[in-house]
Symmetry: C2
Subunit: 235 residues, 2 copies
Amino acid sequence: MAVRTRQSQRRRQVLTRERIVETAVELLDAVGQGALTVRALTGRLATGPGAIYWHIGNMDELLEAATDAVVATALATRPAQPVGAPQDEIRAAALGLFDAVTEHPWLAAQLAVQLTRNPWGPVTLRIFESIGRPVRALGVPQGDWFTTTSTLVHYILGATTQTSQASGDDSVPGSEADRAEFLDAASRAWQDLDPDDYPFIRAIADQMREHDDREQFLTGIDLVLTGITTLHPPT
Amino acid sequence: MAVRTRQSQRRRQVLTRERIVETAVELLDAVGQGALTVRALTGRLATGPGAIYWHIGNMDELLEAATDAVVATALATRPAQPVGAPQDEIRAAALGLFDAVTEHPWLAAQLAVQLTRNPWGPVTLRIFESIGRPVRALGVPQGDWFTTTSTLVHYILGATTQTSQASGDDSVPGSEADRAEFLDAASRAWQDLDPDDYPFIRAIADQMREHDDREQFLTGIDLVLTGITTLHPPT
DNA sequence: ACGGGCTATGGAGCATCGCTCCATAAATGG
DNA sequence: CCATTTATGGAGCGATGCTCCATAGCCCGT
């Protein structure tokens, strides 16, 4: 009976919520944001909508689960116990998210949407925990833990959501040449703006063309960290 | 003929891109995010889809135009010439956006989505200009204008997109009592999390229940501003 | 061994969406 | 006054998320 029982745990092993989420991520990675439909899922999984909705309940719920899965692996690369300085912990977690977004172009939009629709969902919670722990280790007084961590998380999410490949297609990450071309076009467009309405944009058009997203992301992190350690000097 | 010409400028004044955007904002404010459909628009404007698509081209374009309109008025409340300290200019612009989001609940999701889909669209440009000008006045060296402003804008957008009414309905802003109830429930849920997985979240559950979004938003702004003035001390 | 009850499946189909097409009415220009 | 252009609104297409339901597979008590 032991054998029967072990087999029965998976019935015919056809469908699991886990397997659905997994294929959803595959589909999102391969074809892009707009291609994750229940029909595409039924095709890949050789089943019908009823079977999927038995496990998943909602399309938004599936997207949330897919996002949570990717974010979890992105943050799980760090060891459980902190090894370096708290600042490095924060940088590592932030970069984990940043790289996950560049690797999964659909993640940026999903992070943003779920941040608005369910501000304290599992994804936000996970990120908050990963950033909050080193913030605590940073010597920030307990009364400021929440606000300080919020500031960091908000910056990270704002920056990662804007850092998406600006290619026409949604699926392919876009080559380096495409990116250079895009930045060039944008920079030129900025030069042509109305000097009365957009003097500042025109002034930074050059910097914008030559900037590196990842490097700038880290600079922003350090800027916020500087603010934190200035307001709360380590004892 | 002059009279004819003046009349002809507006034909029968039935449809304008401006009028469509205006009704779109009304609809979004009244019924909520998911209720802005072309059919709802044709109903309110007593016309057909063809007429609307003659002016608008795309549903996303309409949403972008609506967002841009609201953001423009939110930022336009400030005088053209700076009157106070650069820090106050930045706070004013940020609060303008913050209040616009609380007034138009759909704005948060739209800001987020457009930030990912079109990172350098008109909306982002407008916000960048409003924040960049006081950043320049802050004495930040020219080479750091772009990065510094980016950091601020990213924090502002990240924070405003999370600050949405967490009510079930999408339309009504949600009463004060609803918010208190929601925070209470969330705080209690956090207490019940696994202590091994979420020690930090559990530790800040109390602060989370009692926090004020707007106040915390401003604290975050000041934190970033502290980082800026620390890295770039005013001469 | 076997049959009732629960779990899970996949297909048919519904309501609704964004959007296109097109006949045509209104304004313009020669 | 007519030909041309501009603008309109309705019919309808393809596709979507999701529900409903007949039924197949599995568990368990007898």
